[in-house]
């Protein structure tokens, strides 16, 4: 069974993929309000990912979720570098897995909050 990873795109990420040809692979959700790139992940690769990150899981849509932000960021970076959503992207990310795991360990304690005004709450 194939699994998926969804890479959400905000404005800065949309900018980063301009001219890479990945724009055509953009899919939208929720009436166009969410834009993402969807990577297919063969089962043996998703097993490898789940083994590295114990909090990660497969949701009801067969998407890998609760992945560390550091992993998602590295993945997006490689997507841009390789201009691809193919298997070589995840391979490249696994080259740096120790570094990503260090970052991931830190982010289970602290993630800087976004700089938005919450005074109305």
């Amino acid at each position: 069974m194939v699994h998926y990873i969804g890479l959400l795109l905000d404005d800065s990420r949309l900018e980063a993929i301009k001219g890479t040809g990945l724009e055509e692979k953009l899919t939208t959700l929720f009436g166009g309000q969410v834009k993402q790139l969807i990577m297919e992940v063969p089962e043996e690769v998703s097993k490898k990912i789940l083994a590295e990150f114990p909090n990660a899981r497969i949701d009801s849509r067969s998407f890998l979720e609760d992945l560390p932000v550091a992993f998602k960021r590295a993945l997006f970076q490689e997507v841009v570098n390789k201009k691809s959503l193919g298997a070589e992207v995840i391979e490249a990310v696994f080259q740096k897995i120790d570094e990503i795991k260090d970052l991931a360990a830190k982010e289970s304690e602290y993630i800087p909050p976004p700089d938005i005004d919450t005074s109305e709450i």
């Binding site: 929720f30 009436g31 309000q33 949701d59 009801s60 609760d66 932000v69 289970s108 976004p114 709450i121």
Partner: protein, 454 residues
């Protein structure tokens, strides 16, 4: 058609075991042997604090239960889910202490024990009976087994189930008897805004003219799927939709990765404060309880709590109060549709003698349909292969990556409630710092109270 009205409390009367007169309270507490309440621990992490049960009992959420159960009552609850008074009740509730504490306290039947919380007097326990329990036996029978409860239990409960581990981690000596709160705790911000014990909640319903109200169980910050569920489930009622939607959050021991309780409460409140469901129709409250994740068993407690609060209806979803795959995903809906005989219900809990009066509203799912261009009910929209699910983990991923969720997924102000508490704890979800502070501070502070020593 008969118009529905606010149901009576479960068992007939609301329990109120809170002494508000300071002189009377001091007289009750003076001269008692004192005991500092200890949390139930698992691998160094607190997984339950009995203070929450004492609060929920004394303020009437668990009416007609009025204390720590005697041995016969625990047996009856485990065998038939009935109290000695015949009324339906799902869980054993006991005050458990270690052998060492029992020996050093030197109390017994007929004694009054003063229970202290955060170093201050909190409640007294009038001991009727002292007995021993086998925590493994209690844990196993509380949740059921595939052999004894084949209708809904799929696999044996184990160490991965948090509710099972609460019972398994209990201490072996039970002091049974009535609790009385002698020093009312003061809720810290923001809990104080959402504290509506059943008597006060019923008053609020009266003021709002909520003849009918439907309860929504939550342990989550609401996304738009939850909002759609609330709005649509509320169309049940009698000659008109339910007048009120009561959100009742279960507040207690947390697990890493949950949203902080403060964000859950203020997130739900944002739904009405910013008009997505107007405040005349929607109100946010909570109950103190260390969730046991007992799916059908938990749904009985939910029904009792919300009936006591004055609700006529209760929403039940798939995998209600569930974790893992111990129970059939429809176990709660099976219970409320036809009963589960092995748990003591030949018929649904609102059709048995001494049962509940609250009416179940079993609901399926909501998702986004790009063809209908709106949030749709899974049993209504025919474009099933186009469904776009609002999974909780999808939204959590978005939150963690710092991406502002669009209003169609999560309301802007609800997201801001998450960020408000993210700024406080340095993390959008429960992290070790949050757990540490929660354990130390709980949800309350206790005013200083002088009592003479026993």
């Amino acid at each position: 058609m008969v118009l529905l009205k606010t149901p009576p409390p479960h068992g007939g009367n609301l329990v109120d075991r809170v002494v508000r007169n300071p002189d009377r309270a001091k007289k009750m507490a003076d001269g008692c042997v004192a005991f500092d309440i200890k949390p139930t621990m698992l691998d160094g992490v607190p997984i339950r604090n009995v203070y929450r049960e004492i609060m929920s009992i004394c303020y009437g959420f668990f009416s007609p239960v009025d204390g720590s159960m005697v041995r016969n009552e625990v047996e009856r609850v485990l065998e038939e889910r009935r109290l000695l008074s015949e009324w339906v009740f799902p869980y054993p509730l006991v005050f458990d202490i270690s052998e060492e504490d029992y020996k050093s306290l030197g109390v017994g039947e007929g004694d009054r024990l003063l229970l202290r919380l955060k170093g201050q007097p909190f409640a007294v326990l009038d001991i009727d009976e002292v007995y021993k329990i086998d925590p493994v036996d209690i844990a196993t029978r509380t949740f059921g087994t595939p052999e004894r409860n084949p209708e809904v239990v799929k696999v044996p409960f184990d160490k991965k189930h948090p509710g099972y581990m609460i019972y398994r981690s209990m201490q072996p000596v039970v002091l049974a008897g009535k609790y009385t709160i002698v020093n009312e705790p003061k809720f810290r911000n923001p809990f104080d805004k959402f504290w509506f014990p059943p008597a006060k909640c019923r008053e609020a319903f009266k003021e709002k003219g909520w003849r009918t109200a439907i309860a929504h169980q939550t342990r989550n910050v609401p996304h738009v799927g939850h909002e759609a569920l609330m709005k649509n489930a509320a169309y049940t009622g009698d000659v008109e939709p339910c007048r009120g939607i009561l959100v009742n959050a279960i507040i207690g021991a947390k697990r890493r990765g949950d949203y902080p309780d403060e964000a859950i409460l203020e997130g739900h409140a944002a739904v009405n404060r910013f008009g997505y469901i107007k405040p005349e129709r929607h109100m946010v409250t909570f109950t103190l309880w260390d969730m046991r994740y007992g799916n059908p068993i938990e749904s009985l407690l939910h029904g009792i709590i919300r009936q006591n609060m004055g609700c006529t209806h209760h929403m039940f979803g798939r995998d209600h109060a569930a974790v893992g795959e111990y129970y059939d995903m429809y176990a709660t809906q099976i219970l409320w549709t036809k009963g589960i005989p092995s748990f003591g219900f030949e018929a649904p809990p609102n059709e048995v003698d001494y049962g509940l009066k609250i009416i179940p509203q079993n609901m399926a799912e909501f998702w986004y349909c790009p063809k209908c261009q709106e949030m749709v009910y899974s049993e209504t929209c025919g474009h099933v292969d186009m469904k776009q699910k609002l999974s909780g983990s999808f939204i959590r991923g978005m939150v963690a990556e710092g991406i502002f969720p669009p209003n169609i997924i999560m309301r802007n102000e609800v997201y801001k409630a998450i960020v408000k508490w993210w700024k406080v704890y340095g993390y959008p979800f429960v992290n070790p710092k949050y757990l540490e502070e929660k354990d130390k501070n709980l949800e309350v502070d206790l005013p200083p109270m002088e009592v003479s020593k026993g």
